[in-house]
């Protein structure tokens, strides 16, 4: 469904992605894990077209994403922190996002689950500038799921949400995963990842260290908890002969 072919990206002297080759398939829920500055965000951004790779190509449904933005209608993206035009209301924001997809997506197929579950209708007319961080996060989630996309990219989805909302969102992600959608997730809350994901992608220094099914990993490492596995992955990289990485 998504294929990265030899993606490299440098910012100035700093290499952020190095020859990434990777394929994601339908039905996978991939937890993208790595230390700060490892290239997680750049990987996601290059998939979304926000960052343009120096070399290599990315294919979504066998369509090269360069010079063609239509593939993005298949993607629902929930950013880490949502910043919206402060003087628009939630309704106008949703209208705008719907307008953008006019002609691409049938408005009858819209998925209002999250809006209903978070009770956003009650504050539909509120200006986005007046919303709290958590409420903005709810709006971001609603937008990501609204168009019933085949691919969901969720960047720290539960950060800033209260436990109840967090639980509602996780249920929704779980539901979509079971529908056979491809879900890419990043989170600092490892228990969330453990609950939701089927695969683990571990990136460090712009390279893929590991991309495996979670169940298989648990067998290999003989650990039941994801946090332990990740700790061990990081230790491997922290061999004493190497200089101390900057992210510690």
């Amino acid at each position: 469904m998504i294929r990265f072919e030899n993606i490299s990206k440098t910012f100035g002297k700093h290499t952020v992605l190095q020859n990434i080759a990777l394929t994601f398939e339908q039905g996978q829920a991939v937890a993208i894990v790595g230390p700060n500055g490892s290239g997680k965000t750049t990987l996601i951004k290059s998939l979304l077209g926000m960052v343009i790779p120096d070399t290599g190509s990315i294919y979504v449904d066998n369509q090269n994403i360069k010079h063609d933005f239509s593939y993005r209608s298949k993607i629902g993206y929930m950013p880490q922190i949502g910043h919206y035009p402060p003087n628009l209301s939630i309704r106008q924001l949703i209208e705008m996002m719907t307008d953008i997809r006019k002609g691409i997506i049938d408005s009858k197929q819209l998925d209002f689950d999250i809006i209903k579950d978070f009770e956003l209708e009650k504050i539909y007319e509120k200006k986005l500038g007046t919303l709290s961080g958590g409420t903005k996060q709810k709006v971001s989630a609603a937008l990501a799921f609204l168009f019933d996309p085949q691919i969901l990219i969720l960047d720290e989805p539960t950060a800033g949400l209260d436990p109840l909302a967090s639980e509602i969102l996780k249920q929704k992600i779980f539901k979509e995963k079971n529908k056979g959608k491809l879900i890419l997730l990043t989170s600092h809350i490892l228990s969330d990842l453990e609950e939701l994901s089927s695969h683990l992608l571990y990136i460090q220094d712009g390279q893929i260290q590991l991309f495996k099914q979670l169940s298989q990993l648990k067998e290999e490492y003989d650990e039941t908890r994801l946090s332990k596995i990740i700790a061990r992955l990081m230790q491997v990289k922290l061999s004493p002969s190497l200089p101390q990485p900057y992210w510690v």
Partner: protein, 255 residues
């Protein structure tokens, strides 16, 4: 494209800064026309506002607005629309809003109290200058990710075109006064949008003086309809070229 512009305009028009700008322009215009018995003098006072305040507000507001909506631009770029659409919707959203503020603040009082060709020329030049400085601001903004640096560049651009440039030109004209500088002065004018706008307006307000110039080429150029037309086209180029450069950079920019 209008899918997004509508909402950008809607957002900016309710921006407190734009509202105060509109109100300020309105008060100043009414004051100028009210205090001066001679409408011509009112127009001359407004000229200073148009040459100094309008570019400053346009360039600073656009820069701040761009950096403030940076994350939103990111989110938009994850939607099924092109970079060009995103850029143009920002550009037109800001441009149309500021022009609307100018039309309400300066245009309406001018048309009501001095609806002559002079007044209309003043309004046209004010609108063109607004768009020129929106273009320049976006060019400055796409060149750096750092907000403080971006605002710094924007301020420097304003300072250069509104104040420093004319000082340089004056120094040059005075130091090389032994040489024929007619074509040079014409050329200098075209290199500064503020000067272009000023000369176009003055051709209506101070025509008697400008026609007395012994510098025949300059005078002939600007006193002909063709000359004014070319000057307006040049101003429009000052809108298009920076905006086009900014778009080219934005197209390849990593957000």
């Amino acid at each position: 494209m209008n899918k997004v512009i509508k909402y950008v305009i809607y957002d900016i028009l309710r921006n407190k800064f734009v509202m105060s700008y509109t109100l300020l322009l309105l008060l100043v215009s009414l004051a100028f026309f009210g205090f001066e018995a001679d409408a011509n003098k009112g127009l001359l006072s407004l000229l200073n506002i148009i040459l100094m305040v309008v570019p400053l507000v346009s360039i600073i507001f656009t820069t701040i607005q761009f950096y403030n909506s940076y994350e939103f631009l990111e989110l938009l770029s994850a939607q099924p629309i092109g970079r060009k659409t995103i850029f143009l919707s920002q550009y037109l959203g800001i441009g149309i809003s500021l022009c609307l503020a100018f039309v309400i603040g300066v245009g309406l009082p001018t048309i009501l109290l001095e609806g002559t060709t002079k007044g209309l020329t003043l309004i046209l030049c004010g609108l063109l200058l607004t768009l020129v400085f929106v273009s320049l601001a976006l060019l400055a903004s796409v060149c750096t990710k750092d907000k403080a640096k971006g605002i710094g560049i924007a301020l420097a651009i304003w300072f250069y075109f509104s104040i420093v440039y004319d000082g340089f030109v004056l120094t040059a004209l005075l130091s090389f006064s032994d040489y024929p500088l007619e074509k040079a002065s014409l050329f200098f004018t075209t290199l500064n949008p503020s000067d272009l706008a000023r000369i176009i307006i003055l051709m209506k307000l101070d025509i008697s003086a400008l026609l007395g110039m012994t510098g025949a080429i300059f005078q002939q150029f600007f006193s002909s309809i063709l000359g004014i037309f070319i000057a307006i086209v040049l101003l429009i180029l000052w809108i298009i070229v920076p905006a086009w450069r900014a778009l080219a950079i934005f197209n390849k920019k990593d957000l």
